[in-house]
Amino acid sequence: MKHKYIEKLIQRQLDREINPEQERALNEHIADCDDCREFYQEITQTCLGLETMPDFYPSPDFDHRIVRYFGWDAKSAIKKLSAAAAAVWLTTLVALVVALSPVHAVNSLVKKAPAVMRCLQSVNTVFGALARLAAPFFRSNFDPAWIAFAAVLTLITAILLSRIAKREITCTVS
């Protein structure tokens, strides 16, 4: 009878519902009773083991299945492509505006509003550097060489950005 009661107390302790008085009675009994002590140690070790069991994980492909189901990869790629397309469009627009502007207007802009030029440079560092290199072209109005330069510049930007986008897509998918 006593042992049955002790077993109940052990279960209560494992249930995290034992009170201090019951815990004291339990400790006193298991200090004296070999059978109950052995039972107590076995069952508490088993439960402790359950609490410390390691997690299992699904296969590495699992995340990709979820990503593919919700189309997160496509959305992410579209976002990056949109940014690349916007950058190409902006570069083209700026290049064409500069190329088709009268030479005196461009000279005036460079001299009187360097802040505007700095702003343009900050939009695209590469474009800014190339724009400074292309300054001699500003002197001639509608110079075919400058238009060709703008086209080449746009093409290079487009290629660079599409490569970046492609790499991003590959990374997302893989």
Partner: protein
């Protein structure tokens, strides 16, 4: 895991995919382990975990934030596993002998003899008792949470848990 996932959940509801991925990384181990220990098959467990997260993300906006997200997610996982058992015409109450041998995956993954013994002992329990043991001892849910999750009175859960502990102790000491 101890931090509240509520900010992440709000971001995920607003369509933030990074938040969804973070939630997935936070809980996939717990959910997969829980389901794997229930169904005792790696591929089924993976499919059911996949289904659980699909349901979770699709119904994230119905989650009541005054409740525990973990408990909500476990409810989805539990219902998904029960649907699986029903589809396969298996009555969870009477599956005692279904999986007496643990999957080879367990042996491969478990590093110590102690855990091998425990996994083998768990696999020998009735699935419903096994689920209660896992929820109480491994996931550390309270009796009230388990009662809500399994839709079962607390007294029944206690009786089953006490019986399961004794059986586990017998199996582990005799293995």
């Amino acid at each position: 895991m101890n931090e509240s996932p509520i900010p992440l959940i709000n971001q995920a509801i607003n369509g933030d995919e990074r938040a969804c991925r973070q939630l997935l990384n936070l809980y996939k181990g717990k959910i997969f382990s829980y389901i794997f220990r229930l169904v005792q098959n790696y591929h089924d467990a993976e499919d059911l975990t996949y289904e659980t997260f699909i349901k979770c993300f699709n119904s994230l906006n119905t989650f009541r934030q005054d409740r525990s997200f973990k408990a909500w997610l476990f409810t989805i996982a539990h219902n998904t596993a029960m649907d699986f058992f029903r589809k396969h015409r298996q009555n969870i109450e009477y599956l005692d002998d279904m999986h007496s041998v643990p999957d080879a995956f367990v042996e491969e993954c478990e590093k110590t003899r102690k855990f091998e013994k425990l996994e083998a002992a768990l696999a020998r329990l009735n699935p419903q008792d096994r689920e209660i043991v896992i929820l109480f001892h491994y996931e550390e849910h309270s009796y009230d949470e388990i009662s809500r999750l399994l839709d079962m009175p607390v007294s029944t859960i206690k009786t089953r848990l006490h019986r399961a502990r004794l059986k586990l102790r017998d199996i582990v000491t005799n293995l």
